[in-house]
């Protein structure tokens, strides 16, 4: 009998059946990967499991006993913990205090507290000082502390939802070591990820969800990545590979100087796609932001870019990594977001030209096939991939010469991702210069004519298409020095 059994779990949101009778077994001491496209039901299923969402029907049994979870607190008491990306640590308390949070006695004996924390961290194989303030730790280490705390509080089932999205390669390695420790300690781990390589590195079993139903559960050894993708999509999908086209004339050169970055220069030609590769903290993000005037000073076509408005005036637009916090005003209509960077062009004596505005928004909706095709809906109600299209539309409405993109497909489902790649290819063919900064090496290899590898705040290598993924990974991680 499995440690945790979910049977015939159903959940409906309005007219959408998010879960249509899903079964899932988690064994003690296994890492069980859940894969599926956006909207397949992975997160909904895990929300049911962690008590955040009440199912319409179905049962959950833990250790054979039926569970009725009415809240996250109840689930945690039963030993089921969801590790969120937004962490539940108190930044201004020490690691030791955070590990004991909720269990702190009225009078704290700090020596004993630290000793117990040190013991726990050692057991988990973590090299983190118990007296360090959580604020001083990196995002990855904070996550590790949160996991250790859940373990200390006797979690028997732990759920990870895209835990590596914001982590560097080294941090991912640490997290994986910790998850393997949890497995040895007989914890059942459910692991959601869009990244198949992680799943094939970590998981014992894989469950594939599609359209709210389970399509397969199998031991990892019985599956190949291609098969998993096929199960997810329901048809075979090949990794995207752009066909290079002839590059045109010189477009301009970015001369970047910013704190923490060695001065660098990036020459861009019309129709060229240049990739920036590197782990988090390598400087690739900082370099891209500097090119948009967000930090330091970049020179472009004889002008210094001090702020985004300067960059926009010179035809440079940045599609930021975080659509929700940086890309869109979620409460405004999609139409209002699409025209946000061209308000000046769409007004006469300060008054908005409504008809022009609507025509512009409709045009981009059609061209990027945004779904649902209703520009009046608030931007926040669109799915991740379509929100990304809205940010792109906002940028393209400015008729840019250069598009800077940071993690352009993060959190976007496979099908929409292909659509975005084709779109970027089309833009390059029209003569735009594209600079793509990404942690997804497959994406960089598929898209770029040229790749700059960042490490420690400087460019350490340059690769030309055709790009081999193994080589890029080796360069990025420093396994192979340029």
């Amino acid at each position: 009998m499995a440690l945790l059994e979910m049977r015939d779990v159903r959940k409906r949101f309005g007219g959408v059946e998010a879960l249509r009778g899903v079964d899932l077994d988690l064994e003690a001491g296994e890492v069980h990967a859940l894969v599926g496209e956006n909207g397949a039901g992975k997160s909904t299923l895990m929300k049911v499991l962690s008590g955040a969402l009440a199912p319409d029907a179905g049962s959950v049994r833990l250790g054979g006993a039926p569970l009725r979870l009415r809240s996250v607190t109840e689930a945690q008491r039963a030993g089921i913990v969801m590790v969120y990306q937004e962490l539940t640590l108190v930044p201004d308390l020490s690691v030791a205090e955070n590990l004991a949070l909720g269990k702190l006695p009225p009078l704290v004996a700090y020596g004993r507290l630290r000793a117990r924390a040190r013991e726990l961290l050692a057991q988990m194989g973590l090299q983190i000082a118990p007296e360090a303030l959580v604020r001083s730790l990196g995002a990855g280490e904070q996550q590790l502390v949160a996991v250790a705390r859940a373990f200390a509080q006797r979690a028997r089932v732990m759920v990870f939802d895209e835990p590596t999205a914001t982590l560097s390669a080294a941090e991912v390695e640490q997290l994986f070591r910790l998850i393997r420790r949890l497995r040895e300690e007989r914890v059942a781990v459910a692991y959601i990820s869009h990244r198949l390589e992680e799943i094939f590195e970590l998981a014992d079993r894989v469950t594939v969800l599609r359209d709210g139903a389970r399509v397969a559960t199998a031991a990892r050894a019985e599956l190949t990545p291609a098969q998993v993708v096929e199960l997810m999509v329901g048809r075979e999908v090949h990794a995207y590979q752009r066909t290079p086209h002839r590059l045109e004339e010189h477009l301009g050169t970015f001369e970047v100087e910013a704190p923490g970055l060695a001065p660098l220069s990036l020459e861009l030609r019309r129709g060229e796609v240049v990739g920036l590769a590197g782990v988090v903290g390598s400087g690739r993000t900082e370099a891209l932001e500097a090119m948009f005037g967000l930090r330091g000073a970049a020179r472009w076509q004889g002008r210094t870019l001090h702020r985004p408005a300067d960059a926009l005036a010179r035809g440079v637009f940045l599609v930021p990594a975080d659509r929700k916090s940086q890309g869109l005003v979620l409460g405004l209509a999609a139409r209002e977001n699409v025209v946000l960077s061209v308000l000046r062009r769409l007004q006469r004596l300060g008054v908005m030209r409504r008809r022009e505005e609507r025509r512009l928004a409709d045009g981009w909706f059609g061209r990027l096939s945004v779904r649902p095709p209703d520009p009046e809906r608030p931007a926040g109600t669109f799915s991740g991939g379509n929100q990304q299209k809205l940010v792109l539309a906002k940028g393209l409405a400015t008729a840019p010469a250069v598009l800077l993109l940071e993690e352009p497909t993060r959190g976007v489902d496979v099908a929409t991702r292909q659509e975005l790649y084709a779109l970027l290819d089309g833009l390059a063919r029209e003569g735009l210069g594209l600079v793509v900064s990404s942690s997804d090496t497959g994406e960089l290899c598929g898209l770029c004519d040229r790749l700059l590898v960042f490490r420690g705040g400087r460019i350490v290598g340059e690769l030309q298409a055709p790009l081999a993924r193994e080589e890029v990974v080796a360069r990025v991680t420093g396994a192979q020095v340029a």
Binding site: F13, G14, G15, F292, L294, R307, P308, A309, A311, L312, A313, L318, P320, S325, Q326, G327, L328, V329, L330, G331, L332, E336, L340, S341, L343, R344, L346, Q347, G350, V351, M352, R354, K394
Partner: protein, 315 residues
């Protein structure tokens, strides 16, 4: 869209109007004097000062700010208008000077917020105290009286059967609504308040937009000052104390989010009207002034509670 969701959307859009209608209907049944033209015009005249301030406050709050200095700015602008006019300056010029002063005071607030990066609550709390102090210095703590006819006409006059302050209020309502909904500046205010980071990455001039909202709030306080000075036929150094809270109440009852980016000035007008009608109705029904405060507070909390429920449903 599910029925529950559609209902919620509908409620969030028309809830205030619905509550207002229900209130009016209830008072009409309870008091025969309530639903008469003179009484309703009286209510509108009574709310005009608060509504004028609240319209400016709405623009600041939509930009994710707050302006606590409006009550003191009102006192100072009223005193300066009265002082200049009593000193012999033609009333129109005195009034224009007061309006310019109001905008300038708001601009000072805006500079502290947008350029110096001080939290709006603190920056305008400073304004609240300083402007009051300047008013007391300017008036030497005494009311300014002996104002020209023009002030009385503005505060107590009637045009086409409607009190002049009501015309001023409706005119400023139309102007502010147009500004917020039909101009690129208005759009920028919503964007800055809704997500400042996204607005910045879109190339919007955040600093200028914020400066404008505070200057506009100061201007609306000055306009309210002229109406109030006219009604009282004098400028009182203590005028307007506590008005900032009434204005904020009208804004939030009217459905504008204190976090910025959501709401509008038509809602604020209804919010001010609800509070005004409530006061009026309770007066007509001889409810003690002590209880009136309790009811008013309850209505503000109730409005926010409904807003919470609607917002939670939207998630």
């Amino acid at each position: 869209m599910s029925p529950a969701r559609r209902w919620r959307d509908w409620l969030s859009r028309y809830g205030i109007a619905l509550a207002f209608g229900a209130l009016v209907a209830a008072l009409a049944l309870l008091s025969p004097r309530f639903l008469t033209a003179p009484n309703l015009l009286n209510v509108l005249r009574q709310i005009s000062v608060n509504a004028l301030i609240a319209f400016g406050m709405t623009t600041v709050i939509l930009g994710a700010g707050i302006d606590l200095s409006v009550g003191s700015a009102l006192a100072l602008c009223g005193a300066v208008a009265a002082g200049l006019a009593a000193g012999g300056l033609p009333p129109p010029l005195a009034m224009i000077a007061a309006l310019a002063l109001g905008a300038a005071l708001g601009l000072v607030n805006g500079l502290f917020v947008a350029s110096a990066g001080i939290a709006p609550f603190i920056a305008t709390l400073g304004g609240l105290t300083i402007f009051r102090g300047v008013t007391l210095v300017y008036t030497d703590g005494r009311p300014i009286t002996g104002l020209p006819e023009a002030f009385d006409r503005l505060g107590n006059g009637v045009a086409l059967g409607v009190p002049v302050p009501v015309w001023v209020m409706l005119g400023f309502l139309a102007l502010t609504h147009f500004l917020l909904r039909f101009t690129s500046l208005g759009r920028a205010i919503y964007a800055v308040g809704g997500n400042e980071e996204a607005a910045r990455l879109s190339g919007l001039p955040i600093r200028k937009v914020k400066l404008f909202t505070y200057a506009y709030s100061g201007l609306s306080a000055a306009l309210a000052a002229l109406v109030l000075t006219g009604r009282l036929d004098s400028a009182q150094p203590t005028a307007g104390s506590g008005f900032e809270l009434d204005a904020i109440a009208a804004v939030v009852v009217g459905g504008t989010s204190l976090f910025g980016g959501r709401g509008g000035v038509l809602g604020t007008f209804l919010g001010a009207a609800i509070i005004g009608v409530l006061n009026n109705g309770m007066n007509l029904l001889d409810v003690s002034a002590f209880y009136q405060q309790i009811v008013k507070g309850g209505v503000i909390l109730g409005a926010l509670l409904i807003d919470r429920v609607v917002a939670a449903g939207r998630q």
